[in-house]
């Protein structure tokens, strides 16, 4: 296999590449935050006139809440009642599986092609 000579990248090109990578990374991580799509699906359940008993707290738990700075049930109600919503659709689960498996499939396929070129150039054609 003929030896591959990579082109020399200009300084401007190098800077552009780094900016592209940064924009993609910050975008992927921040766009879900900005759109309100990221973060936990944990939401507090409103409780009218909460008491320690209605929140399911026994005396030992109440003592700990008090030590932690929660003087009454109302102040702790939001923390105690918040729950994750683990309901999901089959479609969203399938989407996740397709995205992850597809990602690894693409990567392994392209990597294999690139790896064969590397080995051919390093060790010569068989």
């Amino acid at each position: 296999m003929a030896r591959y000579i990579p082109p020399v990248q200009s300084k401007v090109g190098q800077i552009v590449d780094v900016i592209v990578l940064l924009v993609l990374a910050v975008g992927a991580l921040y766009i879900p935050l900005w759109m309100g799509l990221a973060g936990s699906s944990k939401v507090p359940v409103p409780v009218d006139n909460p008491t320690w008993e209605s929140l399911g707290q026994n005396p030992a738990m109440v003592e700990k809440w008090n030590q932690l700075g929660y003087a009454d049930a109302a102040s702790a109600a939001e923390v105690i009642s918040a729950r994750f919503d683990y309901s999901f659709s089959l479609g969203s689960l399938v989407l996740m599986i397709v995205v992850i498996v597809g990602y690894y499939a693409i990567m392994l396929r392209f990597s294999e092609k690139e790896f064969r070129d590397v080995i051919s150039e390093k060790f010569g054609e068989r």
Binding site: A38, S41, K64, V79, V118, I119
Partner: protein
Amino acid sequence: MVETATQIPASIDASTPEKVGLLRVLGPAHVWALGVGIVLVGEYMGWNFAVGKGGAYAALIACWFAGVLYTCVAMIDSEVTSTVAAAGGQYTQAKHIVGPLMAFNVGLYLVFAYTMLEAANAITVGFLIDTVAVMTGHDGLDQRPFIILAIMFLAWLNYRGVLATLSFSLVITAIAFSAIIILFLATAPFMGDSPLRHAELMTDLPYGWLGVLASMHFGLWYYLGIEGTTQAAEEVRSPARALPFGTLAGIITLLIAATLTWYVCVGLMPWEYLGQAGVPLFDAARLSGSTFLMVLLGIGTLFATLASANGCICDASRAWFAMGRDHYLPSWFGAVHPTYRTPYRSIIFLVPIALIFALGAPLDQVITFSILSGLLEYTFMPLNVILFRRKWPLETIKRGYEHPFHPIPAIVLLCLCGVAFFAVFLGYGTQLVAMVSFYVIVSLWFHFWRYRFVSRAAQFSMPWPRPAGY
């Protein structure tokens, strides 16, 4: 004054007048400190979100299953790393075993996992100082200067040299680990009057067994980053001995610390509070009623976060540096400081990225970003070791360490990664899809654009024979 890195192929670097390499100065204790130092903060904050996702018992089950996952990681990693001992760790492994695109992705996993972890540590430093300020009657403290100061100070330390950096980590990690042991001994029932109230505070599984699965998400946080021991492979005096020893000793240390942490915390706090606490071990010390323990665990939290951020800067910069050296990223990053012998440009470049997230994103989401990058990396590892054994069977390359029972650890690891993906999906599905979509896009960008600037054969720098089947 031009500086270049070790292992730069002559074809790439013919014009440079002098090669300056990373210094081989680290021993097994430094490897242990690098691994445990990065991870021990997971006992001081973050792990407890697993309690929030599934309850107290779920967090313990997650802790142990995550322990199995990381034991597989350590076994696999030790074998491959004892053979591929070069800066960049798993990135360099992927480059030699799977292929360039996989290596590029693994490099990014490492950088983002560690940079997000560094950001999470800085957030915790700010939160801890704010908590102490409130306790002493100083409400309304601005956390941001402390976050910026922590990141800048540690980046400067890393800039100045790896031996000083990891020696600093060794000392503060030992103190932080000792603080957990002391808290356990001081509160344990066999020591007399114990404040622990497991019988009254423990509840059934609030979400049933689905919550146990979901808690695997933050269960990874107990150990996330232990694989970072391999990043300093080029700076270890005897990598074949020190890397497996330091890594496996680190896993044992963390299993002990994680179980003790869970035991103390769930015996002192209602699970609903613990599941969202910012500094759970410090809270546990407050609830123990001992001022000494409160001060000790406050110092322990501070030291654990600093040690972790310190190790993260070290590891992320090595991965970025290694990619620059190979032209996967602009080669400007592949430079070593002529005096301090550190990848100083990479260290400086990653500082503002850490600051963007430390100053702008909530803690649980920063942690999730870090966990997701780590999880993608762990999914790569079983594929990596299976291909390693297939392309270079045991008789073709001498390994410094051969992990037993192959391929069982690889299969177990792959299954547990599948469980962990589902766990993240429960509650944080959008972030999961967004992050994987990012990696798909950058993979296409690398394959169709960036890879043209990379020499082919020069990437393969190990003195290995031709792989079987090629």
